[in-house]
Symmetry: C2
């Protein structure tokens, strides 16, 4: 028999094919499972290291098949450090934010930064960069030629979520070329269909797009499965009704659990592990939920070497108190321990130099930059009405009183969106329902184009926050009379190479300050950074002005030109 590097006996092995546990032993050589057997090991086996598993459960490492590392505001190495202890050993990452700022160079940076990590990072090339062509000034863009070049990079296996279903339906030549290039290269085509059904969903699927990860319902899940989709369920899709629908399926091999986006302050409580636990708490049988986070995503990603405790497979595995007892006691990748008791134990590789481009290079802001070009008095004004539960907005027309070029009644927050570099003036808009009493928030992370977003209640605070952000060189700021709180995100103004725990503290400080100053949204920072997302219904702000998302056009702020 083959000499082993590691032998672990007396473990309950999770068999995610037959959905059972069995007492047995595993032998590992050269980073892969050589033996996976029931019962006790033969006595004559040679192994460098022998471990008594003491009846613990041995499961495959978790595989997150749709996610964005930038959502955790982290570089790949810091992300790996944060999620490996929770049992995530592989991800398919779509570096959508880095691409929006840096184009193909942003994708290259993220791929390079993931080399040599114990976390397996596969990459989806972002497909819809920029989100819209004509409603904003794009920093980065991804073309068919970029896709062709990027497929040569290690681990690039997919074209990222095709969010612009309207563009596809209209026959966009750009998307067509992108899809053709991706299909020629054998990439997976990832979908994004929040509202599609019937023949419209079929038209979308007919492009060869085979997954969806947006908010699901039992009806949507069933229709998508029939139409050949792999359905990815994230936190917001998991509820009793959806889990009941999943349990009723005779074959769940095309239902996956994913994270999509995890803010840094959530990472402390888990990663994909938390989604698995949530599924189990809603009645999804534990072993089956585990299969939807291990073997099934491996099959979707066409990585037969992953997701399974079986000979010839990579020895990526977890040692657990029980199937759902996250964090695991120990996490192994290719047979080497990388985390123990919730702490990473691998040597962090050196950081990459920051990529260039996207730097914040503007002259300082003055309070006048946030003044509206309108005479004192009352004017019919288009405002963005927010929903405190989600990122959807409505377009409303208010009669707004202005004094000294600032709105005074009703109490509205001013939104400014400015290009990162140069002297162009940017655009101003008004937000109803935020609840902010004083102070201002500024961010260089503002989906999807990541211009400078500033939201606040007085021209003085708006300028104060915006200038602090310029000094910071990227990140987030909350400024009021007493304090200026900062979260530095020096890499492309989007992510940080600091430990995610530090980032989480700074993030929480800003979010708490927003709440303390009256902001009543469930997720204040997430909501604010989505205010510039020109494809999110029904009205948003870009550097070019107020955006009517459904009509796909810029609309004037004032009903009659002042």
């Amino acid at each position: 028999m083959k000499p082993l590097d590691l032998l672990i006996h007396n473990v309950q092995i999770a068999d995610v094919v037959r959905l059972r546990l069995y007492l047995g032993w595993v032998g590992i050589a050269q980073g892969q499972f050589q033996y996976v057997e029931e019962g006790p090991p033969p006595t004559h086996l040679q192994a460098q290291q022998i471990l008594d598993g003491q009846g613990q459960t041995l499961t495959p490492g978790l595989i997150d098949s749709h996610m964005h590392i930038e959502s955790s505001l982290a570089t790949p190495r810091r992300f790996a450090e944060a999620v490996l202890p929770h049992g995530t050993t592989s991800v398919l990452a779509d570096p959508h934010e880095m691409a929006n700022v840096l184009g193909a160079a942003g994708v290259r940076y993220m791929v390079e930064a993931a080399q040599g990590l114990p976390l397996r990072v596969f990459t989806a090339i972002p497909s819809c960069v920029p989100a819209t062509d004509e409603l904003e000034t794009a920093l980065g863009s991804i073309t068919a030629e970029d896709v062709r070049a990027l497929t040569q990079l290690p681990g690039v296996i997919a074209l990222g979520e095709l969010m612009d279903y309207q563009g596809l339906a209209r026959g966009s030549q750009r998307l067509k070329r992108l899809i053709e290039t991706a299909r020629e290269a054998g990439l997976l085509l990832e979908g994004h269909t929040p509202t599609l059904g019937g023949t419209i969903l079929s038209d979308y699927a007919a492009h060869g797009i085979t997954s969806d990860h947006t908010l699901s319902t039992p009806e949507k899940l069933l229709e998508q499965l029939t139409k050949g989709f792999t359905v990815m369920l994230q936190e917001k899709s998991l509820n009793a009704a959806v889990v009941e629908a999943v349990r009723g399926l005779p074959d769940r091999s095309r239902v996956l659990l994913i994270t999509d986006d995890v803010m840094p302050n959530r990472l402390v409580s888990g990663h994909l592990s938390r989604i698995v636990q949530l599924a189990i708490s809603l009645g999804w049988p534990a072993m089956d939920a585990l299969a939807s986070a291990t073997l099934r995503p491996a099959m979707y990603l066409r990585r037969p070497e992953l997701g399974l405790i079986a000979p010839g497979r990579k020895a990526d595995f977890l040692l657990m108190e029980s199937l759902s007892a996250f964090p695991p006691r120990a996490v192994y990748v290719e047979g080497v321990e990388v985390a123990r008791s919730g702490q990473s134990t691998f040597a962090l590789p050196s950081p990459l130099p920051s990529p260039t481009g996207g730097e914040l290079k503007r002259p300082g802001f003055r309070p006048e930059d946030f003044q509206f070009p309108i005479a004192d008095g009352s004017h019919p004004t288009r405002v963005i009405r927010m929903n405190p539960q989600n990122s959807f907005t409505r377009l409303e027309t208010h009669t707004t009183t202005f004094k000294s070029r600032e709105p005074t009644d009703p109490p509205l927050a001013t939104i400014g969106v400015f290009q990162r570099q140069g002297h162009r003036p940017g655009a101003l808009g008004l937000l109803a329902g935020l609840g902010l009493r004083s102070g201002a928030f500024a961010s260089s992370l503002a989906h999807d184009s990541h211009h400078l977003l500033v939201v606040g209640r007085s021209t003085q605070r708006l300028a104060q926050a915006a200038n602090a952000l310029l000094v910071l060189g990227g990140g987030m700021v909350f400024a009021d009379a007493e304090q200026t709180l900062t979260l530095p995100l020096p890499i492309a103004g989007l992510i940080s190479d600091a430990p995610t725990s530090e980032v989480a503290v700074a993030f929480d400080n800003i979010e708490n300050a927003l709440r303390a100053n009256g902001v009543n949204h469930k997720n204040p920072v997430l909501f604010l950074t989505l205010l510039a997302l020109t494809v999110s219904p029904e009205v948003k702000m870009s550097d070019l002005g107020l955006v009517d998302v459904e009509a796909r056009r810029i609309i004037p702020l004032f009903e009659q030109s002042p």
Copy 2:
């Protein structure tokens, strides 16, 4: 909505993901499903052709994920003509026999001959050619360099069954290089593990081999699934116990139905369809059995565009009276009808020129060529004892009486194995239990090396059959005092470009003559053509002599040298 080439409404659509039938309609454009919807179609749809399905069942075309076209003694175009009417629309073919005669050129011929056919032919490169290095003279061989070159051909997606598990276990450098080359090229590695279990099976799997199609049992099925295998069940593996084990699985996505080998005279009654029907008759739920012959093999073959009635998938489908009512009323490939009511309806492309090499070029045989070099009298002699049910044999030592260099008592058949070309004498052996009273059989199809095999009861008939085979230029012959029956297989002496129905008649004639002359084996021709398979336990004949398969050596015919 997209204009359609074909719209079929009022059909029960087989949903092999959710394992259900539903009344709906499909719209086809450019060879793929554009719409697959429940209920009646919208009235405003444009379609070149509209078909009322009259409540028929619409299923995906069948996908045979492990098979050998040569087993049907047919060229790819004749094979397509025979199996499309039975609903087989895709195959993974391993041209193992052509490779044994012609090497890589045999694989190239089979790939080229499959181009332009409505049958989708994917190809597995035969891995164990020749079957053994030292026990016989090989005609063709496949090296790692051949594998590298052949992966460039269209549809080459796998390395064919790695039968030489002993060679692998011994660390054969040839197999190691072959596997490395195949893994680098991203090929599937197909297994063949008739007898392996436990750590020996794991050692085999650790090479990255992920399937097995040999005779299965419930225990073997379950162990292989746990160890990550895709288990392929063929006719001989299907019985009540195995089907019960399959029904007990919570996930059957890694259990497939396959044909492996179908002799030409069986093709009239079906192809993979017959295996599906057999599974259903043994209690396998019909829709689930269908999934194991459609979607599940498509996933195994990593062809997400196949196996499913869903938008974006190839419009390969069957119209059936019911789920198990084979042959289908109509068979469509890429939205075009290719068969109806058991008859192919597509225009057969022109045949390719026959490949060169492997021609039969020997001087004529004389009766003396079949005489044993031994004095008259009784001699302790090693003979091959056959089993009338299968291809296994035992080595026995008989005291055999020879007269005029022919065995006279007990009644034994003489086996001769000769190279196809040149003057080398070949080897003679003796077979017990065949039952042949008179006449002789000759064949240029003789697994795996396909030398000339001659089996018969008198030197005169042996020479008569062998000479008839030389005249035929390849194929099979039965000769006795009254008649010389022939089945011409002019292409590499293995296959024919005649319609399979004609081949089946000639094949039946020979098999019936063998039976009429006393042969008592269940499958006379199959058994005889496996007599030279030097890896099939326990004793076989090669052109070099009597082969002890387990010991992997040539042994003398007579216990004491004469």
